[in-house]
Symmetry: C3
Subunit: 267 residues, 3 copies
Amino acid sequence: MKITAKDIWLDVKKIRETSPLIHNITNYVVMNGTANALLAIGASPVMAHAVEEVEEMTGIARALVINIGTLSESWVKAMFCAVRRAGDLGIPVILDPVGAGATSYRTKTCHDLIDAVSPAIIRGNASEIMALVSEEAKTKGVDSSDPSSAALDAAKHLSRNAGSTVCISGEIDYIVDGESVITIENGHPMMGKVTGMGCAATALCGAFAAVNSSFPTAAAGAMAVMGIAGEIAAESSEGPGSLQVGFLDALFQLSEDDLTNRIRTGE
Amino acid sequence: MKITAKDIWLDVKKIRETSPLIHNITNYVVMNGTANALLAIGASPVMAHAVEEVEEMTGIARALVINIGTLSESWVKAMFCAVRRAGDLGIPVILDPVGAGATSYRTKTCHDLIDAVSPAIIRGNASEIMALVSEEAKTKGVDSSDPSSAALDAAKHLSRNAGSTVCISGEIDYIVDGESVITIENGHPMMGKVTGMGCAATALCGAFAAVNSSFPTAAAGAMAVMGIAGEIAAESSEGPGSLQVGFLDALFQLSEDDLTNRIRTGE
Amino acid sequence: MKITAKDIWLDVKKIRETSPLIHNITNYVVMNGTANALLAIGASPVMAHAVEEVEEMTGIARALVINIGTLSESWVKAMFCAVRRAGDLGIPVILDPVGAGATSYRTKTCHDLIDAVSPAIIRGNASEIMALVSEEAKTKGVDSSDPSSAALDAAKHLSRNAGSTVCISGEIDYIVDGESVITIENGHPMMGKVTGMGCAATALCGAFAAVNSSFPTAAAGAMAVMGIAGEIAAESSEGPGSLQVGFLDALFQLSEDDLTNRIRTGE
């Protein structure tokens, strides 16, 4: 599978023109940054988590982003109401399994959510994606001495089982759909020193999935835009504080030329 | 009704001199930005939402700001405890009906809150204010071909029924008290690309209402200060990231000259 | 007791090299800033508050930070689960009694938490620390005409009773362990205009306590690093917005020379 700057630019223009409403049930730490990243790319964010209203809110949204970063019982209940509603209406669900593997509550919640609805896109780091795959499946990857190969095998396995595009983000981002893989090599190490960059990437997957029903293309577009905005910001940053500010500015100002000149993608 | 830079400056000085405690029960997305906006103008923010303590907290505050952006059952319960306490003590209540009209839960909660206490100020965008008015009342506005006229009619209707100053913010801010109207035309379009600017405006209404019991004057002061700080920030911003930073700096540094030279107000 | 730039620098290096996981149960207002401050100094933050997972999360952490800024019943329950687990495992607990004294719910929760576990470090401002001491204990301090002396007496009393290092932050930070006192005189007044600076200081106490089991040294290191990063940021800031950005940049770039040249400490 391949993606071009042109493909991504068309999606960015669609987001800016149509301002799709993205319903987020996400964690407390990143809500502000997530809303700002969605606004900067041109989408309309809304946050709502009460069982009394999540179904109604999901019903008017163009994508639903579920992020398990700060779970609790009532939020999990609302997530299930929302994903079922999204499933019924054919609204794409994006799942961010924050901290899967760190506690059994997180891992189990992810499994149950994936059972309740087939997410359009699951985005996490390598350890989170690996935590969602059985020990058995993981063992296959361990045949290789390359740890990224183990993660890639896990992503392929999860993609087939969940019926989802799976995105592993890291120094190289892998967008996996069954056996197909797109790589995006944009980004900057200092992005890892700003909380919520991964969560923003997941939310942008929602914005792209709202305007492009090819979910691998949508996920690759989101990851490319994140990485490129981060690179631009890093060039004039003196640390993670100014990176975060510059990232939103760069996302807002992102041009077709930025995409064309900077994208580093492969298969 | 008219307002002058001088009126507003006196209130800003009072806020800076007395640092009134503003009790906020607000949404998760904007809590940080709201607290920072209140600190930058010179007030003292506190956030508390547990039924175990809201009445005690409201009792030591000079204004209570209720923002329904991320509702849930227990928060709604706390909002009612707090507004009743504020009503008993004569502490001004400021209501931000975030997303009223988007879900029936939000619309209903706003109506119930307005029934429980007459807010000093209700601040929202045109669609939120219109959602708080019955279909019947709205129809009157639709006689006009100007949509802002419909919103203005809705604001007048809501102002009379709720006994509140109603503020519609947008390119032009309308501060409506019965049939009287003050307009504020400050601000910058990029403010709409930063989450929580409306919520910050509502919180600043609380700070001004804490030092000025003429609520139309307080609301107009808050909207003018927001708009002017946003304009100053926009002049040296490269996007929504730097706008947000510059906005807090401008609010902190705001001078009488800034107000005098920049205010654009009418009736 | 004395502390040197060298002591602190060794701890900063250990934090950067080992990236200790710091489990935070903290308030909504400051979660983002707290996570970013921990990342900027080199630690790994995690936020988790569900009773279903807090014990498991605390079990893999190197320090537990409890901040009562926005309490509610379910969060208090989770705090107790977490501190008991930390107590069992010997993981240092850092307590921030935000707003103690403002409501009886906050004061009581702090007392109960201190009864459940002896915190390694309790960090608050003078009024919060004084609120945790009985009227009787406070009276002793009032003999003196110097209010800071009353706070210092309260801190000594609390330190002995709780078996904790107690840190009062303000223009001068006092780190009190029984009768021993370290003072840190770094910082800048504009830090008080940014929400969550105190909460970030508490979280940094967690990062330092994760690598140094001398808790007075850990607390003094955290306060020095906070103050110095704030000073550096203030030198190129135009207000609280840019201060917050510059603070994270300065924390990230902090060098041994910054510590050596700027630290102002005494006994």
